[in-house]
Symmetry: C2
Subunit: 247 residues, 2 copies
C-alpha cells in the first residue's frame, strides 16, 4: 500500500492533487476502488479512491489508522553541506531512519557554494525527497528541511543532548561518548547531531561547538564517510530505544 | 593519509602498481617523500614514497602499524540483487560499516538479470568499490564479493547466527528478534544476513530460509528500503559490540 501526505485542506475536501494525483492517474493507472493511506501529518487514514483524473483524485475515508512510527526522541541532523548528490541520499535514508529535522548546514570545509535563488530550488527538491521517503517508510510526519544556514548562525539552545561526530576521536580510541549519551536518552529528548562535510570539522568549529555544549563522539574504529555517519547514528538510536529483547 | 591495499608480491618488492600508481602520479601528483599506509590485508605499514611514475611507485617501509579496525564478528550480507546502482551503494557503505563478505544474490523478486559475461565485469566493479571503501575507512582487510549466486544454491551451514530481514515482522510489531540475537553475539561468531531486493522476500524463500535456521527480524517500526536495512544492521552490530560506555 502507498501512503500520501496531503494538506489539511485537501484532507477536508477528500482530494489528492498535484504530483501525487498525476502519479496515481498516469504511472499507477488507478481506476477507482484502490485503497491507499492518506495523512495530514497529524492523523493517518485508510482511504478508498473514487474518481481519478490527472489533476485531482477524490477519495472517501474508510477508517482512521493509529500507530506510532516515530523515533521516541526528536533528532535534528545538522549536516555539513556535502558534494554531489550526497545531501539527497542523507535526506532519503535519514527520513527512513527517523530524523525529525535534516538541516543542510554550510560549514568551513563545505565546498559547495549556493546562490540565494539556487537555495530556494534546492530546498524545494530536498523537501520533495523527504516527503517521498516519509511516505515510503510510513512515517507519521514528514521531516523538516527548514533552511540552509551557516553553522554559527544556528541557535542550539533548545537541545537537551548535543553530539558532534569527530573522526579524530576514533583515531584516538575514544569510543565511549556516543553510547554513554544514547543509552541514557530520555523519551522526547531533543538531540542535535552535527556531522561535518567530507573534509570534516574545522578546529575552530569544533571548539565553538564544544563551548555550546556539544560532546565529540566517535562511531567505532573505522573512518566513516559523512553520509554513513548519519545512518549509523540514527540506526543506533533506533536499536537502543525502539527494539526490545525477548524475556 | 591514504591507505592502499597491495598484493603480497608488491609488498615484498616495495612497489605500488596499476590504478593506484596512476592515481598517485597524476591525480595526487606525488613527488616522493609522502607518507601513506600500505597493506597486504594481513599487516599494515607506514610507507615513505620514493620514486613516482605512472606505472610504478616505489616506497620504503617506515614502521608496522598495528590496530584492529575489524568488527569482532564475521558478517556476510546476502543482498537480494537490487535495481540501479544500489548494489554499489551497499558495497561502499557496507564495507565502511564492517561487513566481511557482501554477496549480491539473485532472489525471486530481483528484477535485474545478468548474462554470464556481464557477471564477470560486475564482480570486477564491485571488488574495486570494496577495495576503495576499505582503503578509505582504514579496514584491515578488503571485504569479499565472491560471486553472484542464486539464493537456493548457497550453503549456509557454516554460520552460527542467521538473520533474514522481514518487513512484515515490522508491520506485525515483532521487534524483539533482532536485538535478542545481536546482544548475545559472541566474538568471532559467523553471522549470515539475508536482505531481500526492493520487492522483498518471497513467501517460499522465507520458508526455505526458516528451514535453514534463519530467524525473521524487523528493524524498528518504519519500513526501510533494502539498502537502508543493511546500514541499520551493521551499525547496530558495531554499536552493540564495538562501543563502550563511560564507567
Amino acid at each position: 500500500m502507498q501512503k500520501y501526505f496531503i494538506t489539511k485542506e485537501n484532507l477536508e475536501n477528500r482530494v489528492i492533487t498535484g504530483d501525487d494525483a498525476y502519479q496515481m492517474s498516469t504511472v499507477l493507472r488507478f481506476k477507482g476502488d484502490e485503497i491507499v493511506m492518506v495523512s495530514d501529518s497529524e492523523k493517518s487514514y485508510l482511504a478508498k479512491i473514487l474518481n481519478v483524473s490527472k489533476d485531482e483524485v477524490s477519495f472517501e475515508i474508510v477508517e482512521e489508522k493509529t500507530g506510532n512510527m516515530e523515533l521516541p526522541v526528536f533528532v535534528s541532523i545538522f549536516q555539513g553541506y556535502p558534494k554531489g548528490d550526497k545531501m539527497e541520499e542523507i535526506i532519503k535514508h535519514g527520513t527512513e531512519l527517523g530524523a525529525k529535522q535534516i538541516i543542510p548546514t554550510f560549514m568551513k570545509r563545505s565546498i559547495v557554494k549556493l546562490e540565494e535563488k539556487k537555495i530556494t530550488s534546492k530546498l524545494e527538491r530536498f523537501r520533495k525527497i523527504a516527503k517521498e521517503a516519509a511516505e515510503q517508510s510510513f512515517r507519521n510526519v514528514i521531516p523538516e528541511v527548514p533552511s540552509i544556514p551557516y553553522l554559527k548562525t544556528i541557535d542550539f539552545s533548545s537541545f537537551d543532548v548535543k553530539i558532534v561526530c569527530y573522526e579524530e576521536s576514533a583515531k584516538n580510541g575514544e569510543l565511549k561518548a556516543f553510547k554513554s549519551l544514547i543509552s541514557n536518552l530520555k523519551e522526547n529528548a531533543r538531540v542535535a547531531v552535527v556531522v561535518g562535510p567530507e573534509g570534516g570539522i574545522d578546529d575552530s568549529e569544533l571548539s565553538y561547538l564544544k563551548d555550546k555544549g556539544f560532546i565529540p563522539c566517535a562511531l567505532g574504529p573505522r573512518i566513516l564517510r559523512t553520509e554513513t555517519a548519519v545512518f549509523y547514528i540514527l540506526s543506533a538510536i533506533s536499536y537502543e530505544m525502539e527494539l526490545k529483547k525477548w524475556k
